[in-house]
Every structure is written in C-alpha cells, then in structure tokens.
C-alpha cells in the first residue's frame, strides 16, 4: 500500500514549511518534497509606492535579515537614480551587512542546530532547544548569545534600531558614524573572537561524530553561486556573482545585478509557494544551484582576512573540489562569522570611515534597476520598474531560499531514502529529515517566526486516505 508521510510544520526554521515523503507499496521512499506553505506578496503590494520607500518597505520582509533586503533594495533604487554612493557609505553598509551575517549565523548555528549537535539527533525533543544547550554546554550557550548580541548591537549602533533600521537609504546612509560608536564596536571585537573560537574549536571536535549524517545530508554534486571580488575573495555587499560547476570550474562570472535576470530563471512547482531558481543556459532542473555559506566558500579562492584565510584552507581540505555535503553549511557558517568579525575590524580602521559625506542624491534617471547582495542564507536580488514619476510599476525578488529550493528538496529525499526502511520511522529519523533543511537555514516566511510551541505531526496516510500511523510532538 503506498503511503505519504507528512512533517508539518518543520521546526527550528525561520518560518513555516512542511515535508511530505512518498512511500511505495514496499514501504520504500520514492520521492520527498519540502513545501513552503506561506504566500509573501511583497512584490504585488509595492506596486504604486514611490521607489524611494522600497528599502524600508522591503526590510519588513524579514526580522532576521532585514539588512540584506535594505541593501539590495537601496542598490536597485540607486540603479534607477544612476548614482554611485560615497566610499564611506559603502563601507558602513558593508559593516552593517556583516554584523547581520554574524548575528544570523549565530542564531542558526548556536540556537537552531546546536541542540542536534550537542544533545544528539535522537535526544528527547523536550531538551532539544536553547535551554537544553544551556544546561549541557553553558559555555557554548554563552558564546552563541554573545555573538548574537555582538551583531545586533552593531546594527543598533549604526542604524539606531536592532531590527528594521531605516539608516540605509537610496544614495547611501542617513548619518555618518560617530567616533564614540566606532570605539564601542572596536571594544567588542576581542570578546567576539573569543566566543567564536569556542564555537569553532568545539565544532571541529564533534563534526566527525556525524559522519553518517554528513554522508546523506544533501550530499550530491551541484552548481554553486555567490558574490566575489575581482581578486577572487569573498564579498557580501558589492562585487559580482560567480557560478561554478560540480567540479569547481567557473561556468559564468561577472554577473552583475542587471545581468542577473538574463541568466537566472525561476521555475514553479505545484507543491510550494517558493519558486525554484536555475541557471538559464542549463535549463530547469539541471541548472539548479546552491547559494549561502557552503556555496560562497566553494566559489572563492580567498577570504581576504588572515584568520578566516587559515580556516578556509582547512575547509578546502574537506574535499578534492567543491565540498558537497550540506552538513558542512555549519562549518562554513563558522568560517564566515570569523571573516565578518575580522572584516568589521578592518573597516573600522579605514581612515575615511568617520567621513561626513555618506549620501548621494538624484531623481529618476532610469525606469528599471536591480540590486544584489549576499544575505546570510545566500544571494538576494531585487529588480524594480518605475514610471517617470518614480512610482513602482513592477517588482521581483529572488531570495536565497528559492535558490536553494531544489537542493533542499533533493536533500530531503536523499535523507528520507537512507533512513526510512519498510515504511518505518522514529522521532529521531523525523528530526534528521528536518535537520537536512536546517543546514540550509532557510528563511521561509521572512516575517513570522516561531518554533517549538507549534505541534509537529508526522502522519502515514494510505493510498485510500486512511491514517495508518501518526507521531505527534508538541
């Protein structure tokens, strides 16, 4: 009898999604899907608004990565204005984006995934949360909280708000950096290094214990894409996109925001509200690719900062070519956090960082514009069209989660096929399937967030629609 297993909702994610697993008559997994069950609609309701409102409107998409939306949106507006922002404004935005990356990665690694890594995939769900982490490894809990506060406090100092800061505007930023704020950020750097050192050291000790998971957590060849500088170092705010193949060969690069739409397409599947991005020359689904920390480390030749450079060299030793298992998103996140702290320190030593000229002004000089940036989860592109008065007539956003969508679906299927035999599953197996999705740290709703309090129900349904088994959690 064929059956369908449903995991709804998937927990410890940003937003709401579910997983369905199809079994054949022999109880073998034939297919699996990760469904994003929410509708966003931001593109549509931005129509008719003045384009200069877009950054603050688009930031409301997400409470975790609003800075990436602010930056991509402001850059799309600047393409419409045809302005180049002042050097100091570009550096300040870069620092803001890195601060967000650090706090978001800390949330993903220490809060959402470390319960599995510290307590085990089979641990009692009652303790598989941040309180459980605090009890088992308080020093790691403190490190995670410290890194979250580090990123959040920099965002608050620069943008005057921890969430949805209105400081990034078309043309630059609204006010320069004060010396007292620069000194306050510099004073936080040593503690951030210490906290991250704890996290990296602990992860390296335990990672190999998860060899079975590494082998089947979305471990397959794919394309990878991310922003990169001309010197082939990692970039989060400027630069252009590079795409590599499964062997590590560059298949396209220099993809600017305006060229993005020429080479990236979006497919639609009936089971998800999130679209499936793909590289147009290879078509869908062959042109599917991965973005985010794993992809970024796979495409770059250097981190551009000394401590992260050493960690990148070690990361590259994990494979002879691109690192394929999505389990290593965790590792890549830690390397990127180290880069973020180092780069923030470097930016603060820029002799022009306190310069007062931080904003360029202009009106509508083009009727179309695109902007791109790296969000913590991967590449983000905003594409706008306006009329001659600057009123928005059309918008399209391609977010990181859509670009990882195909890989997440393949990853869920790979893990389900490995772990589910004869139609039987346990709570620990259910958690492993969810953990595959967690490695990507997808941001599904970009607005509402909750986990844990929600019920999680895994149901076996016969081909006649009868419920034959059910596991209820929460």
């Amino acid at each position: 009898m064929s059956q369908t297993i449903t995991i709804d909702p998937v927990t410890r994610l940003e937003g709401h999604g579910k997983v369905t697993i199809q079994l054949n008559d022999q109880g073998e997994v034939t297919d699996a899907h990760f469904h994003v069950t929410q509708v966003r609609g931001f593109e549509r309701f931005s129509e008719g608004r003045p384009f200069y409102e877009m950054p603050s409107l688009m930031a409301r998409i997400c409470g975790i990565c609003p800075v990436s939306h602010l930056i991509a949106s402001a850059k799309a507006c600047e393409a419409i204005m045809s302005v180049r922002i002042p050097h100091t404004a570009a550096q300040l935005r870069r620092m803001l984006n890195l601060a967000q990356m650090v706090q978001s990665h800390a949330l993903s690694f220490f809060y959402l995934s470390s319960p599995d890594l510290i307590l085990g995939m089979e641990a009692d769900p009652k303790v598989r949360n941040i309180l459980g982490v605090a009890a088992a490894k308080p020093e790691l809990g403190r490190a995670g909280i410290g890194l979250r506060r580090f990123g959040q406090h920099i965002i608050e100092l620069l943008g005057n708000k921890r969430i949805h800061p209105g400081w990034v505007v078309p043309g630059g930023v609204t006010e320069p950096l004060a010396q007292a704020k620069r000194d306050e950020i510099l004073a936080m750097i040593p503690e951030a290094y210490a906290n991250l050192g704890l996290g990296i050291g602990w992860y390296k000790q335990v990672a190999e214990n998860f060899k079975p998971e590494i082998d089947v957590f979305a471990n397959f060849p794919s394309l990878y894409m991310g922003l990169i500088n001309e010197d082939e170092s990692i970039e989060f705010t400027d630069g252009a996109l590079r795409l590599i193949d499964a062997q590590g060969n560059t298949i396209d690069e220099g993809i600017t925001a305006s060229k993005y739409n020429e080479v990236i397409g979006e497919a639609v599947e009936p089971y998800s509200y999130t679209k499936f991005a793909y590289y147009k020359p290879l078509g869908y689904p062959d042109g599917s690719y991965r973005v985010g920390p794993l992809a970024r480390l796979n495409i770059v030749k250097s981190m551009g900062t000394p401590k992260a450079e050493k960690e990148l060299a070690e990361f590259k030793q994990l494979a002879n070519g691109p690192v394929e298992s999505s389990f290593y998103y965790h590792h890549a996140r830690l390397v990127e956090m180290l880069y973020g702290i180092e780069k923030i320190e470097q930016i603060l030593s820029d002799p022009l960082i306190l310069d007062k000229h931080v904003r360029a002004t202009a009106g509508v000089n083009r009727l179309e514009g695109s902007g791109q940036a790296e969000a913590p989860r991967g590449t983000l592109n905003h594409h706008y069209r306006v009329d001659e008065n600057g009123k928005m007539t059309w918008a399209n956003l391609v977010i990181a989660t859509g670009q990882n969508n195909n890989a997440m679906n393949k990853g869920v299927a790979q893990a389900a096929k490995h772990y589910i035999k004869d139609g039987k599953f346990s709570e620990g197996i259910l958690n492993r399937v969810e953990a595959v999705v967690r490695t990507f740290d997808p941001c599904l709703s970009c607005s509402t967030h909750a986990y844990g309090q929600m019920p999680l129900i895994l149901t076996l349904v016969s081909s006649q629609g009868e419920v034959v088994d059910q596991v209820v959690r929460g």
């Binding site: 410890r12 409470g63 949330l107 809060y111 959402l112 769900p125 009652k126 303790v127 949360n129 941040i130 309180l131 459980g132 605090a134 009890a135 308080p138 809990g141 403190r142 909280i145 410290g146 979250r148 506060r149 580090f150 959040q152 406090h153 306050e184 936080m188 503690e191 967030h449 909750a450 986990y451 844990g452 309090q453 929460g474």
Partner: protein
C-alpha cells in the same frame, strides 16, 4: 558589549501597534522618565523577549518584567513573583517567557537576579491599533503606582 550594571532592570514587552499590547513599552517610557535621575535602574523595552536578554538579567540584582496579559481581566493589575523555569519543551528563539529567561540566566551565567517580579496589565483588546482600550486607560494610574513602588523597593533592597 555595553553592560547593564543595573541594580534593577525593568524589562518591558509589547507591540505599540497592537492596542493594549503596547502598555509594556508605554510603562517602560514612563519609568525611564520617572526615574531619569536614578542610575541604578536600567530600562529595556522589546517587542518580544529573546534569549539574548538572559545576559542582561545576569548582570542585574533585581528585575521587574512588565507585560500585558490576555488571560487576566481587562484593566486588572497584577504583581507576582517569578521563578526560573526548568528546562521545558518548546522554548523558542524568538520569544521566551519571564520564567524561561530567568532559567536561561541561571543555566548560562549562574547568577539570576535575586528578586524577580512580573507586573501584568489585563488587555481589553490587542487588535491593530495605536490606542489603548478604555479599561487599560482607566488603570494606567494604578499600574504606574504599582510599578513605582516595586522599583523603589527593589532599588532599596538590592
């Protein structure tokens, strides 16, 4: 990181766009003004309480949580003692309770505040609005009185 170093921490919660849910932030603003000359009081107001706040709690001698309550009678004012929660299923990253925050402060830093109180104001409506319901408007003087008294006692004893 900016340190709280407070003898008394006032930690408010609420959304000013959701009617009576905004009473927590409103009382936080009131307290900040009322105790402007009191360096021993540190006020933090958030839309949600998140785990990071455990670090602020660990640095305070006493804490007064301020929030609205949807389970109490509209306009009622309650002041109760709060104790650290034990490890519980379903604790979130985007929202934790006062007791869970105290539990985190204890587990992570070993030093929760010696005194912890929760002041709640019964909500009449939490629908989209920047206005309070009449029940909450009527009770604001009592809520302010209770808050002031609680803070003064905490500052005196901690």
């Amino acid at each position: 990181m900016k340190s709280t170093r407070a003898r008394c921490l006032l930690l408010a919660c609420g959304n000013t766009l959701r009617g009576d849910d905004g009473i927590g932030p409103w009382l936080a603003d009131w307290a900040e003004e009322r105790f402007a000359d009191e360096p021993g009081l540190h006020v933090i107001s958030r839309q949600q309480w998140t785990p990071e706040l455990a670090a602020d709690l660990a640095e305070a001698s006493a804490v007064l949580f301020v929030d609205c309550s949807t389970s109490s009678q509209a306009g009622s004012v309650e002041l109760i003692e709060v104790h650290p929660a034990q490890r519980t299923e379903g604790v979130g990253t985007h929202q934790v309770s006062a007791a869970e925050l105290l539990g985190l402060a204890q587990e992570l830093y070993g030093s929760p505040p010696r005194k912890a109180l929760l002041l709640t104001i019964g909500a009449g409506s939490t629908e989209l609005s920047e206005e309070f319901s009449q029940a909450v408007l009527d009770t604001i003087p009592l809520a302010c009185e209770q808050l002031q008294s609680a803070v003064e006692k905490m500052l005196a004893c901690c």
